[in-house]
């Protein structure tokens, strides 16, 4: 071990804080190096002097310290909201709300509250629509999942799946068709029926 490294380790050597390997190496070096031995005794004296000088044990915090701290803590506590929501709960809650909103938006892309009633009606089979009491003031909750189809999708499906031989009532009672119709405006719905009738040559 060189003198430079030994000097850096002297304080720990004196306090017996070095590992066994380093202790032996410093020990060996000091035995053979008078300059480092001298340095060691100087470090020892200096540390003792400084320790005495830096012993602030005679100094203490003022009696007002505790009172002042308690008062500041109370002020901080009073600034807190009535109940604290843990951060994890807040984050999970917000993520949950976002997820639900996203699902709703994806399933009901352009639905506004005023459109709700018409769209609900639109997804019901025709005979139910006819039988429906128009005096109902509030729409019923949709009883099945809404699926998004464009007018062209529906037209294509209807024209593909039903042949001119198909029974019109069967088409109109088709639950799948009912589901498809629910996203359309009344005018589009009428056009579908028209197209089906034309194909069926009704």
């Amino acid at each position: 071990m060189k003198c430079k490294k030994t000097k850096l380790l002297l304080s720990e050597y004196l306090e017996d804080e070095l590992g066994r390997k380093e202790m032996v190496r410093v020990d060996d070096h000091i035995k053979h190096c008078p300059r480092c031995r001298e340095e060691m005794s100087e470090v020892k004296n200096l540390e003792e002097k400084i320790k005495d000088s830096l012993d602030f044990r005679g100094m203490a915090l003022s009696p007002q310290f505790e009172m002042k701290l308690r008062s500041r803590i109370k002020t901080l506590e009073s600034e807190k909201p009535g109940f604290a929501i843990p951060r994890w709960a807040f984050v999970s809650g917000m993520a949950g709300i976002l997820l639900v909103s996203l699902i709703v938006l994806l399933n009901y892309p352009d639905r506004s509250p005023s459109e709700g009633f018409n769209k609900t009606i639109a997804r019901l089979p025709l005979q139910e629509l006819e039988a429906m009491d128009n005096t109902l003031s509030e729409p019923e909750e949709p009883s099945w999942e809404a699926v998004d189809f464009t007018f062209e999708d529906i037209l294509r499906t209807v024209l593909k799946d039903y042949s001119p031989e198909s029974n019109e009532t069967a088409i109109l009672e088709d639950e799948f068709l009912g589901e498809m119709l629910e996203g359309l405006s009344p005018a589009e719905e009428q056009e579908i029926f028209k197209a089906v009738k034309n194909k069926l040559k009704v």
């Binding site: 000088s53 602030f56 310290f65």
Partner: protein, 173 residues
């Protein structure tokens, strides 16, 4: 250590008694460390206040990446450094005040002279050397711990301390 973990968890959960126990456990060490840095009892007390306010505010985010003591000491050093920065702009370091001190074990002028001599010498050291010296000599910390507090390498902590000793030796001859 288990009991300190318990204490921290209770304080995190809002137990005032546990927080008070943390203050009681560390306030004197923090005050002495601050005193070593700013060499003014009033400022050291203000720093101690700020340290425990910071502990109160941030304890919930304490993740046990270090010992509580290491964390508290690091806060103390950072706040102390800020106090020094502000003060060097406005006030010279000469006005050392030790009037608030209680009777010391080494009563009399000899103690006071030694204290003042050291305080002046340490005040003239670069901040890192000063911090390493205080943590080593006053707080009796091992260099591993000093390195963690100062966020430097073990060799860096040893080197800062050794440089401090060299300069203090010259000034105290």
């Amino acid at each position: 250590m288990d009991s300190e973990h318990n204490l921290i968890e209770r304080a995190k959960a809002g137990d005032e008694g546990a927080y008070q126990k943390i203050v009681d456990n560390y306030k004197d060490q923090v005050f002495r460390l601050a005193l070593g840095i700013v060499r003014n009892s009033q400022e050291a007390e203000d720093i101690t206040q700020e340290v425990f306010i910071r502990v109160f505010k941030s304890l919930k985010s304490f993740q046990y990446r270090s010992l509580l003591k290491t964390w508290i000491f690091r806060i103390t050093i950072n706040i102390g450094k800020n106090f020094l920065k502000k003060r060097t702009d406005a006030l010279p370091l000469e006005g050392v005040e030790i009037e608030d001190s209680k009777p010391s074990p080494l009563e009399g002028t000899e103690y006071r002279e030694k204290l003042e001599e050291f305080m002046k010498a340490i005040g003239n050291l670069p901040f890192k050397q000063q911090t390493a010296a205080i943590l080593r000599i006053q707080q009796g910390l091992e260099f591993k711990e000093i390195a963690r507090i100062m966020k430097c390498t073990l060799g860096g902590a040893r080197s800062h301390y050794f440089q401090a000793l060299k300069k203090l030796r010259k000034s105290m001859v």
